[in-house]
Protein backbone atom coordinates (compact mmCIF):
# COMPACT_ATOMS: atom_id res chain seq x y z
CA UNK A 1 0.00 0.00 0.00
CA UNK A 2 1.48 3.35 -1.00
CA UNK A 3 0.57 6.71 0.46
CA UNK A 4 0.40 9.62 -1.91
CA UNK A 5 1.97 12.94 -0.98
CA UNK A 6 -1.45 14.54 -0.80
CA UNK A 7 -3.28 11.92 1.24
CA UNK A 8 -0.81 11.20 4.00
CA UNK A 9 -1.46 13.15 7.21
CA UNK A 10 1.81 15.05 7.60
CA UNK A 11 0.70 17.34 10.43
CA UNK A 12 3.95 19.26 11.08
CA UNK A 13 5.19 18.77 7.55
CA UNK A 14 2.05 19.86 5.71
CA UNK A 15 0.65 18.23 2.58
CA UNK A 16 2.95 19.24 -0.24
CA UNK A 17 6.66 19.52 -0.97
CA UNK A 18 7.00 23.20 -0.06
CA UNK A 19 5.12 22.68 3.22
CA UNK A 20 7.28 19.66 4.02
CA UNK A 21 10.35 21.76 3.39
CA UNK A 22 9.04 24.56 5.62
CA UNK A 23 8.41 21.94 8.32
CA UNK A 24 11.93 20.56 7.98
CA UNK A 25 13.47 24.04 8.30
CA UNK A 26 11.31 24.72 11.35
CA UNK A 27 12.58 21.52 12.96
CA UNK A 28 16.15 22.52 12.15
CA UNK A 29 15.67 25.97 13.69
CA UNK A 30 14.12 24.45 16.81
CA UNK A 31 16.94 21.95 17.07
CA UNK A 32 19.80 24.42 16.77
CA UNK A 33 18.39 26.93 19.29
CA UNK A 34 20.50 30.10 19.17
CA UNK A 35 22.48 28.51 16.36
CA UNK A 36 25.86 29.43 17.83
CA UNK A 37 27.15 25.90 18.41
CA UNK A 38 25.61 24.82 15.10
CA UNK A 39 27.66 27.62 13.52
CA UNK A 40 30.81 26.41 15.27
CA UNK A 41 30.06 22.90 13.99
CA UNK A 42 29.66 24.08 10.39
CA UNK A 43 32.94 26.01 10.62
CA UNK A 44 34.65 22.95 12.10
CA UNK A 45 33.40 20.73 9.26
CA UNK A 46 34.55 23.41 6.78
CA UNK A 47 38.03 23.39 8.33
CA UNK A 48 38.20 19.61 8.09
CA UNK A 49 37.10 19.64 4.44
CA UNK A 50 40.38 21.38 3.62
CA UNK A 51 42.73 20.13 6.31
CA UNK A 52 41.79 16.55 7.16
CA UNK A 53 43.79 14.16 5.02
CA UNK A 54 43.23 10.82 6.79
CA UNK A 55 40.73 8.89 4.69
CA UNK A 56 39.04 7.02 7.54
CA UNK A 57 38.44 10.23 9.49
CA UNK A 58 37.12 12.06 6.44
CA UNK A 59 34.38 9.41 6.21
CA UNK A 60 32.99 10.09 9.70
CA UNK A 61 33.96 13.71 10.34
CA UNK A 62 33.55 15.36 6.94
CA UNK A 63 31.56 13.36 4.40
CA UNK A 64 29.06 11.81 6.80
CA UNK A 65 27.84 15.14 8.30
CA UNK A 66 27.48 16.68 4.84
CA UNK A 67 25.49 13.73 3.50
CA UNK A 68 23.33 13.44 6.65
CA UNK A 69 22.49 17.13 6.44
CA UNK A 70 21.62 16.96 2.74
CA UNK A 71 19.44 13.90 3.39
CA UNK A 72 17.73 15.65 6.32
CA UNK A 73 16.74 18.55 4.06
CA UNK A 74 15.50 16.26 1.29
CA UNK A 75 11.65 16.34 1.31
CA UNK A 76 11.19 12.90 -0.22
CA UNK A 77 13.30 11.35 2.52
CA UNK A 78 11.27 13.20 5.18
CA UNK A 79 8.12 11.87 3.55
CA UNK A 80 9.50 8.31 3.54
CA UNK A 81 10.53 8.48 7.22
CA UNK A 82 7.15 9.93 8.04
CA UNK A 83 5.58 6.81 6.60
CA UNK A 84 7.17 4.94 9.48
CA UNK A 85 7.32 7.41 12.37
CA UNK A 86 5.76 10.67 13.51
CA UNK A 87 6.93 13.86 11.82
CA UNK A 88 7.60 15.48 15.22
CA UNK A 89 10.48 13.09 15.85
CA UNK A 90 12.12 13.63 12.46
CA UNK A 91 14.56 15.96 14.24
CA UNK A 92 16.23 12.83 15.64
CA UNK A 93 17.80 12.35 12.25
CA UNK A 94 20.05 15.27 13.27
CA UNK A 95 21.41 13.02 16.02
CA UNK A 96 23.44 11.38 13.27
CA UNK A 97 25.52 14.57 12.97
CA UNK A 98 28.64 14.02 15.09
CA UNK A 99 28.50 17.61 16.42
CA UNK A 100 30.36 16.97 19.68
CA UNK A 101 33.01 14.77 18.09
CA UNK A 102 33.77 17.18 15.23
CA UNK A 103 34.00 20.29 17.40
CA UNK A 104 36.10 18.50 20.03
CA UNK A 105 38.34 17.00 17.33
CA UNK A 106 39.04 20.33 15.63
CA UNK A 107 39.48 22.05 19.01
CA UNK A 108 41.97 19.40 20.08
CA UNK A 109 43.88 19.67 16.80
CA UNK A 110 44.22 23.43 17.38
CA UNK A 111 45.29 23.00 21.01
CA UNK A 112 47.95 20.47 20.07
CA UNK A 113 49.82 23.32 18.35
CA UNK A 114 50.18 25.00 21.76
CA UNK A 115 53.02 23.68 23.90
CA UNK A 116 53.54 23.21 27.64
CA UNK A 117 51.55 25.10 30.26
CA UNK A 118 50.05 27.40 27.65
CA UNK A 119 48.03 24.40 26.47
CA UNK A 120 46.08 24.34 29.73
CA UNK A 121 45.33 28.06 29.47
CA UNK A 122 44.28 27.65 25.84
CA UNK A 123 42.08 24.64 26.72
CA UNK A 124 40.32 26.61 29.45
CA UNK A 125 39.85 29.50 27.04
CA UNK A 126 38.29 27.17 24.48
CA UNK A 127 36.01 25.72 27.16
CA UNK A 128 34.91 29.27 28.02
CA UNK A 129 34.03 29.88 24.36
CA UNK A 130 31.94 26.68 24.37
CA UNK A 131 30.13 27.81 27.52
CA UNK A 132 29.28 31.13 25.86
CA UNK A 133 28.02 29.47 22.65
CA UNK A 134 26.15 26.69 24.46
CA UNK A 135 23.69 26.56 27.31
CA UNK A 136 24.32 25.04 30.76
CA UNK A 137 22.16 21.93 31.09
CA UNK A 138 21.51 22.26 34.82
CA UNK A 139 20.02 25.75 34.40
CA UNK A 140 17.00 24.02 32.90
CA UNK A 141 13.87 25.11 34.79
CA UNK A 142 12.66 21.50 35.06
CA UNK A 143 15.61 20.49 37.23
CA UNK A 144 15.17 20.46 40.99
CA UNK A 145 16.92 18.88 43.93
CA UNK A 146 15.86 15.23 44.22
CA UNK A 147 13.72 14.69 47.32
CA UNK A 148 14.31 10.93 47.37
CA UNK A 149 15.93 8.10 45.41
CA UNK A 150 12.80 7.77 43.25
CA UNK A 151 13.22 11.36 41.99
CA UNK A 152 9.50 11.96 42.53
CA UNK A 153 8.07 14.55 44.96
CA UNK A 154 7.99 13.20 48.53
CA UNK A 155 4.37 14.29 48.88
CA UNK A 156 3.40 11.81 46.12
CA UNK A 157 5.27 9.02 47.93
CA UNK A 158 3.49 9.85 51.20
CA UNK A 159 0.03 10.06 49.61
CA UNK A 160 0.50 6.77 47.73
CA UNK A 161 1.70 5.03 50.90
CA UNK A 162 -1.45 6.31 52.59
CA UNK A 163 -3.92 5.03 49.99
CA UNK A 164 -2.34 1.79 48.74
CA UNK A 165 -4.09 -1.38 49.89
CA UNK A 166 -2.08 -4.59 49.80
CA UNK A 167 -3.23 -7.18 47.29
CA UNK A 168 -5.31 -4.93 45.05
CA UNK A 169 -5.26 -1.83 42.86
CA UNK A 170 -7.01 1.37 43.87
CA UNK A 171 -8.14 4.23 41.65
CA UNK A 172 -7.61 7.84 42.64
CA UNK A 173 -7.92 11.31 41.21
CA UNK A 174 -4.83 13.47 41.75
CA UNK A 175 -4.23 17.16 40.99
CA UNK A 176 -2.86 17.60 37.45
CA UNK A 177 0.58 18.72 38.65
CA UNK A 178 1.11 15.41 40.49
CA UNK A 179 -0.33 12.88 38.01
CA UNK A 180 2.91 12.31 36.11
CA UNK A 181 4.65 11.01 39.25
CA UNK A 182 2.01 8.77 40.83
CA UNK A 183 2.38 5.63 38.75
CA UNK A 184 6.16 6.03 38.63
CA UNK A 185 6.12 5.39 42.35
CA UNK A 186 3.25 2.93 42.66
CA UNK A 187 1.78 0.86 39.82
CA UNK A 188 -0.94 -0.21 42.28
CA UNK A 189 -2.46 3.29 42.17
CA UNK A 190 -4.50 3.73 39.01
CA UNK A 191 -5.65 7.18 38.00
CA UNK A 192 -8.95 8.64 36.89
CA UNK A 193 -6.94 10.69 34.39
CA UNK A 194 -3.27 10.52 33.55
CA UNK A 195 -0.67 12.89 32.23
CA UNK A 196 -1.86 12.37 28.63
CA UNK A 197 -5.15 14.13 29.42
CA UNK A 198 -3.35 17.16 30.86
CA UNK A 199 -1.37 17.83 27.64
CA UNK A 200 -3.40 20.45 25.79
CA UNK A 201 -2.11 19.70 22.30
CA UNK A 202 -3.15 16.04 22.55
CA UNK A 203 -6.71 17.25 23.04
CA UNK A 204 -8.04 14.22 24.96
CA UNK A 205 -11.39 14.41 26.73
CA UNK A 206 -11.87 13.01 30.24
CA UNK A 207 -14.99 13.77 32.25
CA UNK A 208 -13.25 13.51 35.66
CA UNK A 209 -10.57 15.94 34.48
CA UNK A 210 -13.20 18.36 33.21
CA UNK A 211 -14.96 18.52 36.58
CA UNK A 212 -11.97 18.06 38.91
CA UNK A 213 -9.45 20.37 37.24
CA UNK A 214 -11.43 22.75 35.08
CA UNK A 215 -14.59 22.90 37.24
CA UNK A 216 -17.47 25.20 36.51
CA UNK A 217 -17.08 28.07 34.01
CA UNK A 218 -15.74 30.22 36.89
CA UNK A 219 -12.98 27.64 37.47
CA UNK A 220 -14.31 26.43 40.81
CA UNK A 221 -15.05 22.74 41.36
CA UNK A 222 -18.43 21.68 42.71
CA UNK A 223 -18.40 18.89 45.31
CA UNK A 224 -21.60 17.18 44.18
CA UNK A 225 -20.57 17.02 40.51
CA UNK A 226 -17.15 15.73 41.56
CA UNK A 227 -18.53 13.01 43.81
CA UNK A 228 -20.96 11.88 41.06
CA UNK A 229 -18.32 11.69 38.34
CA UNK A 230 -15.86 9.91 40.65
CA UNK A 231 -18.42 7.32 41.62
CA UNK A 232 -19.47 6.66 38.02
CA UNK A 233 -15.78 6.13 37.12
CA UNK A 234 -15.14 3.89 40.14
CA UNK A 235 -12.67 6.30 41.69
CA UNK A 236 -11.98 5.35 45.29
CA UNK A 237 -9.90 8.31 46.44
CA UNK A 238 -9.92 12.03 45.78
CA UNK A 239 -6.70 13.94 46.49
CA UNK A 240 -7.71 17.55 46.90
CA UNK A 241 -5.39 20.57 46.98
CA UNK A 242 -6.71 22.47 50.02
CA UNK A 243 -5.51 25.78 48.54
CA UNK A 244 -8.19 25.43 45.86
CA UNK A 245 -11.76 26.54 46.35
CA UNK A 246 -14.65 24.04 46.24
CA UNK A 247 -18.38 24.70 46.25
CA UNK A 248 -19.88 22.42 48.91
CA UNK A 249 -18.10 19.70 50.84
CA UNK A 250 -17.25 16.21 49.63
CA UNK A 251 -18.14 14.92 53.11
CA UNK A 252 -21.79 15.76 52.38
CA UNK A 253 -21.78 13.41 49.39
CA UNK A 254 -20.44 10.19 50.87
CA UNK A 255 -16.70 10.93 50.95
CA UNK A 256 -14.69 10.94 54.19
CA UNK A 257 -11.44 12.82 54.69
CA UNK A 258 -9.01 10.22 56.05
CA UNK A 259 -5.78 12.14 56.12
CA UNK A 260 -3.89 15.27 55.10
CA UNK A 261 -0.43 15.17 53.51
CA UNK A 262 1.12 18.59 53.09
CA UNK A 263 -1.54 20.76 51.51
CA UNK A 264 -3.42 17.77 50.09
CA UNK A 265 -6.56 16.33 51.72
CA UNK A 266 -7.21 12.64 51.06
CA UNK A 267 -10.88 11.65 50.71
CA UNK A 268 -12.18 8.09 50.43
CA UNK A 269 -15.51 7.06 48.92
CA UNK A 270 -17.48 5.44 51.74
CA UNK A 271 -19.42 3.35 49.21
CA UNK A 272 -16.23 1.83 47.73
CA UNK A 273 -16.06 -0.60 50.65
CA UNK A 274 -12.31 -0.28 51.07
CA UNK A 275 -12.36 0.44 54.82
Amino acid sequence: MLYSFNNFPFRLFGDNVSEIWTGILQLYRDYTGTGMLAGVFIIAVGVLVYLEKDKDRRVLLVLMPILVFVLFLFPLFAWAVNRYAESEIYYRFLWLLPVTVVIAYVGTKILLFVRGWHRIVAAILLCCIITVCGDYAYDNEYFSKAENAYHVPQVVVDICDEIVIEGREVRAVFPADLVQYVRQYSPYVCLAFGRDVTVDRWNLYNDVYEIFELGLPNGITEAQLLSDVCRSNEVHYVIWDSDREMIGNLADFGFTMISTVGKYDIYIDDKAGLR
Binding site: L60, L67, F93, A104, Y105, A149, H151, Y185
Partner: protein, 375 residues
Amino acid sequence: MQELVSNSFGGLILFIWLFVVPVLMGIPFAGIGSEDRKHIRTAWICGYMEMWAIFQIVAMVFVLTTREFSHVVNTYIGVCVLVCLLGLFIGLKKRRAFTLDLRALWNEEKERKVVNIILWTISIAVVLIQVYKSITMAFADGDDAYYIPISASTVASGKMYNSIPYDGYPTTLDMRHALAPFPVWIAFLSEVSGIHSTIIAHTILAPVLILVTYSIYYRMGYMLFKKNRDGVPIFMLLVSVLIMYGNYSFYTVETFMLTRTGQGKSVLGNIVIPFIMLCILQMGQEFTSDEILASGHRRPSKESNKRKILLGILITTATVASWLCSTMGAILTSALVGLCGVIIFITYKNIKAIAYAFACCIPSIIFLLGYLVIT
Protein backbone atom coordinates in the same frame (compact mmCIF):
# COMPACT_ATOMS: atom_id res chain seq x y z
CA MET B 1 18.26 6.50 49.66
CA GLN B 2 17.39 4.22 52.55
CA GLU B 3 16.09 1.52 50.22
CA LEU B 4 19.36 1.61 48.33
CA VAL B 5 21.53 1.31 51.39
CA SER B 6 19.41 -1.41 52.98
CA ASN B 7 19.26 -3.52 49.83
CA SER B 8 22.97 -4.24 49.50
CA PHE B 9 22.33 -7.66 47.94
CA GLY B 10 20.28 -5.97 45.21
CA GLY B 11 23.13 -3.51 44.74
CA LEU B 12 25.55 -6.40 44.25
CA ILE B 13 23.24 -8.02 41.68
CA LEU B 14 23.00 -4.72 39.80
CA PHE B 15 26.79 -4.37 39.90
CA ILE B 16 27.05 -7.81 38.30
CA TRP B 17 24.48 -6.98 35.59
CA LEU B 18 25.78 -3.50 34.83
CA PHE B 19 29.52 -4.12 35.06
CA VAL B 20 30.54 -7.79 35.21
CA VAL B 21 28.10 -9.28 32.66
CA PRO B 22 28.79 -6.66 29.93
CA VAL B 23 32.56 -7.06 30.37
CA LEU B 24 32.36 -10.85 30.04
CA MET B 25 30.03 -10.61 27.07
CA GLY B 26 32.19 -8.03 25.33
CA ILE B 27 35.52 -9.86 25.68
CA PRO B 28 35.48 -11.23 22.10
CA PHE B 29 35.32 -7.62 20.85
CA ALA B 30 37.76 -6.08 23.34
CA GLY B 31 40.39 -5.47 20.66
CA ILE B 32 38.19 -3.35 18.36
CA GLY B 33 39.96 -0.15 17.37
CA SER B 34 43.25 -1.20 18.90
CA GLU B 35 45.98 -3.03 17.05
CA ASP B 36 48.10 -3.92 20.04
CA ARG B 37 46.01 -4.62 23.14
CA LYS B 38 42.59 -5.64 24.32
CA HIS B 39 40.84 -3.32 26.76
CA ILE B 40 38.38 -4.12 29.55
CA ARG B 41 36.66 -0.77 28.92
CA THR B 42 36.10 -1.66 25.24
CA ALA B 43 34.72 -5.03 26.30
CA TRP B 44 32.38 -3.20 28.70
CA ILE B 45 30.83 -0.94 26.04
CA CYS B 46 30.64 -3.74 23.43
CA GLY B 47 29.02 -5.95 26.07
CA TYR B 48 26.20 -3.42 26.50
CA MET B 49 25.40 -3.68 22.79
CA GLU B 50 25.26 -7.47 23.05
CA MET B 51 23.23 -7.34 26.24
CA TRP B 52 20.66 -5.00 24.69
CA ALA B 53 20.51 -6.82 21.36
CA ILE B 54 19.88 -10.15 23.09
CA PHE B 55 17.26 -8.56 25.32
CA GLN B 56 15.53 -7.02 22.31
CA ILE B 57 15.23 -10.37 20.53
CA VAL B 58 14.08 -12.25 23.66
CA ALA B 59 11.60 -9.54 24.73
CA MET B 60 10.23 -9.11 21.20
CA VAL B 61 9.48 -12.83 20.92
CA PHE B 62 7.57 -12.92 24.20
CA VAL B 63 5.86 -9.55 23.78
CA LEU B 64 4.39 -10.85 20.53
CA THR B 65 3.44 -14.22 22.00
CA THR B 66 2.81 -14.88 25.71
CA ARG B 67 3.46 -11.39 27.15
CA GLU B 68 4.64 -13.15 30.32
CA PHE B 69 7.49 -11.23 31.95
CA SER B 70 8.83 -14.35 33.71
CA HIS B 71 9.46 -15.97 30.31
CA VAL B 72 11.61 -13.00 29.30
CA VAL B 73 13.53 -13.03 32.60
CA ASN B 74 14.32 -16.75 32.55
CA THR B 75 15.23 -16.95 28.86
CA TYR B 76 17.36 -13.81 29.02
CA ILE B 77 19.31 -15.00 32.04
CA GLY B 78 19.93 -18.34 30.32
CA VAL B 79 21.21 -16.77 27.09
CA CYS B 80 23.35 -14.23 28.95
CA VAL B 81 24.99 -16.94 31.07
CA LEU B 82 25.93 -18.85 27.90
CA VAL B 83 27.37 -15.75 26.19
CA CYS B 84 29.26 -14.81 29.39
CA LEU B 85 30.79 -18.29 29.58
CA LEU B 86 31.88 -18.00 25.96
CA GLY B 87 33.42 -14.60 26.71
CA LEU B 88 35.15 -15.94 29.81
CA PHE B 89 36.57 -18.84 27.82
CA ILE B 90 37.95 -16.51 25.12
CA GLY B 91 39.19 -14.07 27.78
CA LEU B 92 41.12 -16.78 29.63
CA LYS B 93 42.58 -18.05 26.38
CA LYS B 94 43.83 -14.59 25.38
CA ARG B 95 44.45 -13.17 28.85
CA ARG B 96 47.96 -11.96 27.98
CA ALA B 97 46.52 -9.50 25.46
CA PHE B 98 44.79 -7.68 28.36
CA THR B 99 48.05 -6.85 30.17
CA LEU B 100 48.46 -3.15 30.88
CA ASP B 101 51.81 -1.62 29.97
CA LEU B 102 52.06 0.80 32.88
CA ARG B 103 55.70 1.61 32.25
CA ALA B 104 54.82 3.40 29.02
CA LEU B 105 52.83 5.94 31.02
CA TRP B 106 55.92 7.00 32.99
CA ASN B 107 58.27 7.25 30.06
CA GLU B 108 56.76 10.52 28.84
CA GLU B 109 58.46 13.87 29.06
CA LYS B 110 57.92 15.28 32.58
CA GLU B 111 56.29 18.61 31.71
CA ARG B 112 54.04 17.01 29.12
CA LYS B 113 52.99 14.44 31.66
CA VAL B 114 52.04 17.08 34.25
CA VAL B 115 50.06 19.02 31.63
CA ASN B 116 48.21 15.85 30.63
CA ILE B 117 47.50 14.96 34.26
CA ILE B 118 46.00 18.42 34.86
CA LEU B 119 43.87 18.17 31.71
CA TRP B 120 42.74 14.68 32.68
CA THR B 121 41.88 15.90 36.19
CA ILE B 122 39.73 18.74 34.86
CA SER B 123 37.91 16.53 32.35
CA ILE B 124 37.28 13.78 34.92
CA ALA B 125 35.98 16.45 37.33
CA VAL B 126 33.50 17.68 34.69
CA VAL B 127 32.30 14.10 34.10
CA LEU B 128 31.98 13.48 37.84
CA ILE B 129 29.88 16.64 38.22
CA GLN B 130 27.48 15.20 35.65
CA VAL B 131 27.43 11.84 37.43
CA TYR B 132 26.78 13.56 40.78
CA LYS B 133 24.01 15.73 39.32
CA SER B 134 22.34 12.70 37.73
CA ILE B 135 21.97 11.22 41.22
CA THR B 136 21.07 14.31 43.20
CA MET B 137 18.98 16.31 40.72
CA ALA B 138 15.51 15.31 39.55
CA PHE B 139 14.25 16.29 36.11
CA ALA B 140 10.50 16.68 35.65
CA ASP B 141 10.01 15.01 32.30
CA GLY B 142 6.50 14.18 31.13
CA ASP B 143 7.66 11.16 29.11
CA ASP B 144 8.75 9.47 32.33
CA ALA B 145 5.03 9.26 33.15
CA TYR B 146 4.80 6.81 30.27
CA TYR B 147 8.05 4.83 30.34
CA ILE B 148 8.68 4.32 34.07
CA PRO B 149 5.16 2.98 34.85
CA ILE B 150 5.70 0.38 32.10
CA SER B 151 8.69 -0.92 34.08
CA ALA B 152 6.92 -0.65 37.44
CA SER B 153 3.70 -2.34 36.31
CA THR B 154 5.60 -5.08 34.45
CA VAL B 155 7.34 -6.04 37.69
CA ALA B 156 4.12 -5.72 39.70
CA SER B 157 1.79 -7.63 37.37
CA GLY B 158 4.20 -10.02 35.66
CA LYS B 159 2.59 -9.05 32.33
CA MET B 160 4.02 -6.79 29.66
CA TYR B 161 2.13 -3.93 28.01
CA ASN B 162 -1.29 -4.97 29.34
CA SER B 163 -2.27 -1.57 30.83
CA ILE B 164 -2.09 2.08 29.82
CA PRO B 165 0.96 3.40 31.66
CA TYR B 166 -0.57 6.83 32.24
CA ASP B 167 -3.61 5.69 34.19
CA GLY B 168 -3.50 1.89 34.58
CA TYR B 169 -6.61 1.06 32.54
CA PRO B 170 -6.37 -2.28 30.68
CA THR B 171 -5.41 -2.02 27.02
CA THR B 172 -4.45 -3.97 23.92
CA LEU B 173 -0.85 -4.18 22.71
CA ASP B 174 0.56 -0.82 21.56
CA MET B 175 2.94 -2.11 18.91
CA ARG B 176 4.96 1.08 18.47
CA HIS B 177 6.13 1.10 22.07
CA ALA B 178 6.06 -2.65 22.63
CA LEU B 179 8.67 -3.25 19.92
CA ALA B 180 11.09 -0.89 21.69
CA PRO B 181 10.98 -2.47 25.17
CA PHE B 182 13.77 -0.55 26.92
CA PRO B 183 11.46 -0.05 29.96
CA VAL B 184 11.13 -3.85 30.16
CA TRP B 185 14.95 -4.11 30.41
CA ILE B 186 14.74 -1.74 33.38
CA ALA B 187 11.96 -3.97 34.76
CA PHE B 188 14.32 -6.93 34.35
CA LEU B 189 17.02 -5.16 36.40
CA SER B 190 14.39 -4.39 39.02
CA GLU B 191 13.17 -7.98 39.08
CA VAL B 192 16.62 -9.54 39.55
CA SER B 193 17.81 -6.96 42.10
CA GLY B 194 14.61 -6.35 44.05
CA ILE B 195 15.18 -2.59 43.79
CA HIS B 196 12.27 -0.40 42.64
CA SER B 197 12.42 0.23 38.90
CA THR B 198 12.01 3.99 39.37
CA ILE B 199 15.12 4.09 41.57
CA ILE B 200 17.00 2.05 38.98
CA ALA B 201 15.96 4.30 36.09
CA HIS B 202 16.56 7.61 37.85
CA THR B 203 19.30 7.07 40.41
CA ILE B 204 21.31 3.99 39.42
CA LEU B 205 21.14 3.64 35.66
CA ALA B 206 21.59 7.35 34.93
CA PRO B 207 25.19 7.62 36.25
CA VAL B 208 26.15 4.24 34.79
CA LEU B 209 24.86 5.19 31.33
CA ILE B 210 26.72 8.51 31.52
CA LEU B 211 29.92 6.55 32.17
CA VAL B 212 29.17 4.23 29.23
CA THR B 213 28.81 7.29 26.97
CA TYR B 214 32.13 8.74 28.11
CA SER B 215 33.83 5.38 27.68
CA ILE B 216 32.71 5.41 24.04
CA TYR B 217 34.02 8.95 23.58
CA TYR B 218 37.28 7.97 25.26
CA ARG B 219 37.67 5.08 22.83
CA MET B 220 36.90 7.46 19.98
CA GLY B 221 39.48 9.96 21.23
CA TYR B 222 41.99 7.16 21.55
CA MET B 223 41.39 6.17 17.90
CA LEU B 224 41.44 9.74 16.61
CA PHE B 225 44.65 10.62 18.45
CA LYS B 226 46.52 7.36 18.47
CA LYS B 227 49.53 9.03 16.83
CA ASN B 228 49.58 11.74 19.49
CA ARG B 229 48.08 10.57 22.78
CA ASP B 230 48.37 14.09 24.22
CA GLY B 231 45.21 14.85 22.28
CA VAL B 232 43.06 12.38 24.26
CA PRO B 233 42.72 14.38 27.54
CA ILE B 234 42.01 17.59 25.58
CA PHE B 235 39.44 15.77 23.45
CA MET B 236 37.73 14.36 26.54
CA LEU B 237 37.73 17.76 28.25
CA LEU B 238 36.10 19.41 25.24
CA VAL B 239 33.58 16.59 24.86
CA SER B 240 32.55 16.78 28.52
CA VAL B 241 32.13 20.57 28.39
CA LEU B 242 30.24 20.38 25.08
CA ILE B 243 27.85 17.88 26.65
CA MET B 244 27.36 19.93 29.80
CA TYR B 245 26.66 23.04 27.70
CA GLY B 246 24.74 21.21 24.97
CA ASN B 247 21.34 22.30 26.23
CA TYR B 248 21.01 24.94 23.49
CA SER B 249 17.70 23.36 22.55
CA PHE B 250 15.27 20.85 23.97
CA TYR B 251 16.04 18.32 21.23
CA THR B 252 19.81 17.86 21.29
CA VAL B 253 21.33 14.52 22.25
CA GLU B 254 23.29 16.27 24.97
CA THR B 255 20.08 17.58 26.54
CA PHE B 256 18.60 14.10 26.36
CA MET B 257 21.72 12.65 27.93
CA LEU B 258 21.64 14.83 31.03
CA THR B 259 17.89 15.16 31.48
CA ARG B 260 16.35 11.86 30.33
CA THR B 261 19.33 9.57 30.83
CA GLY B 262 17.32 6.45 31.64
CA GLN B 263 15.01 6.67 28.63
CA GLY B 264 15.51 4.52 25.55
CA LYS B 265 15.72 7.43 23.12
CA SER B 266 18.51 9.01 25.17
CA VAL B 267 20.38 5.71 25.13
CA LEU B 268 19.91 5.59 21.37
CA GLY B 269 21.32 9.08 20.81
CA ASN B 270 24.09 8.99 23.37
CA ILE B 271 25.27 5.41 23.44
CA VAL B 272 24.16 3.35 20.45
CA ILE B 273 24.68 6.03 17.75
CA PRO B 274 28.10 7.17 19.10
CA PHE B 275 29.05 3.51 19.39
CA ILE B 276 28.19 2.94 15.71
CA MET B 277 30.20 6.09 14.87
CA LEU B 278 33.11 4.48 16.69
CA CYS B 279 32.63 1.36 14.57
CA ILE B 280 32.46 3.54 11.45
CA LEU B 281 35.87 4.99 12.31
CA GLN B 282 37.18 1.44 12.42
CA MET B 283 35.24 0.52 9.26
CA GLY B 284 36.79 3.52 7.52
CA GLN B 285 40.25 2.25 8.50
CA GLU B 286 39.51 -1.25 7.24
CA PHE B 287 38.20 -0.14 3.86
CA THR B 288 40.29 2.94 3.09
CA SER B 289 43.76 2.01 4.29
CA ASP B 290 46.43 2.77 1.67
CA GLU B 291 47.42 -0.87 1.59
CA ILE B 292 43.91 -2.01 0.63
CA LEU B 293 43.36 0.81 -1.84
CA ALA B 294 46.75 0.16 -3.48
CA SER B 295 45.96 -3.53 -3.96
CA GLY B 296 42.73 -2.60 -5.75
CA HIS B 297 40.75 -4.13 -2.84
CA ARG B 298 41.77 -7.58 -4.03
CA ARG B 299 43.99 -8.94 -1.31
CA PRO B 300 42.98 -7.98 2.20
CA SER B 301 45.09 -9.86 4.73
CA LYS B 302 43.71 -12.74 6.78
CA GLU B 303 43.94 -10.53 9.89
CA SER B 304 42.04 -7.74 8.14
CA ASN B 305 39.28 -10.16 7.12
CA LYS B 306 39.01 -11.41 10.70
CA ARG B 307 38.75 -7.85 12.02
CA LYS B 308 36.08 -7.03 9.44
CA ILE B 309 33.99 -10.04 10.42
CA LEU B 310 34.19 -9.12 14.12
CA LEU B 311 33.38 -5.51 13.32
CA GLY B 312 30.46 -6.54 11.12
CA ILE B 313 29.01 -8.66 13.92
CA LEU B 314 29.44 -5.76 16.33
CA ILE B 315 27.78 -3.21 14.01
CA THR B 316 24.87 -5.59 13.38
CA THR B 317 24.55 -6.17 17.12
CA ALA B 318 24.49 -2.43 17.75
CA THR B 319 21.77 -1.89 15.13
CA VAL B 320 19.66 -4.58 16.83
CA ALA B 321 20.34 -2.91 20.21
CA SER B 322 18.98 0.32 18.72
CA TRP B 323 15.53 -1.28 18.25
CA LEU B 324 15.33 -1.75 22.00
CA CYS B 325 15.70 1.99 22.53
CA SER B 326 13.26 3.39 19.98
CA THR B 327 11.36 2.20 16.94
CA MET B 328 13.18 4.97 15.09
CA GLY B 329 16.48 3.36 16.09
CA ALA B 330 16.32 0.89 13.20
CA ILE B 331 16.00 3.75 10.66
CA LEU B 332 18.70 5.91 12.21
CA THR B 333 21.33 3.22 12.66
CA SER B 334 20.66 1.67 9.24
CA ALA B 335 20.94 5.12 7.67
CA LEU B 336 24.22 5.73 9.50
CA VAL B 337 25.80 2.43 8.46
CA GLY B 338 24.36 2.57 4.95
CA LEU B 339 25.60 6.13 4.37
CA CYS B 340 29.05 5.09 5.52
CA GLY B 341 29.09 2.29 2.94
CA VAL B 342 27.87 4.66 0.22
CA ILE B 343 30.50 7.28 1.11
CA ILE B 344 33.37 4.78 1.04
CA PHE B 345 32.08 3.38 -2.24
CA ILE B 346 31.74 6.77 -3.94
CA THR B 347 34.90 8.33 -2.53
CA TYR B 348 37.33 5.45 -2.49
CA LYS B 349 35.75 3.23 -5.14
CA ASN B 350 35.50 0.28 -2.78
CA ILE B 351 32.35 -1.59 -3.72
CA LYS B 352 32.88 -4.15 -0.96
CA ALA B 353 32.13 -1.42 1.60
CA ILE B 354 28.60 -0.96 0.32
CA ALA B 355 27.92 -4.71 0.35
CA TYR B 356 29.40 -4.91 3.86
CA ALA B 357 27.23 -2.04 5.12
CA PHE B 358 24.14 -3.54 3.51
CA ALA B 359 24.82 -6.92 5.13
CA CYS B 360 25.06 -5.21 8.55
CA CYS B 361 21.66 -3.57 7.96
CA ILE B 362 19.77 -6.68 6.84
CA PRO B 363 18.27 -7.46 10.30
CA SER B 364 17.12 -3.83 10.67
CA ILE B 365 15.58 -3.83 7.20
CA ILE B 366 13.67 -7.02 8.05
CA PHE B 367 12.60 -5.46 11.36
CA LEU B 368 11.36 -2.30 9.61
CA LEU B 369 9.41 -4.28 7.03
CA GLY B 370 7.94 -6.45 9.79
CA TYR B 371 6.97 -3.35 11.76
CA LEU B 372 5.21 -1.83 8.74
CA VAL B 373 3.33 -5.08 8.12
CA ILE B 374 2.28 -5.49 11.77
CA THR B 375 1.19 -1.88 12.28
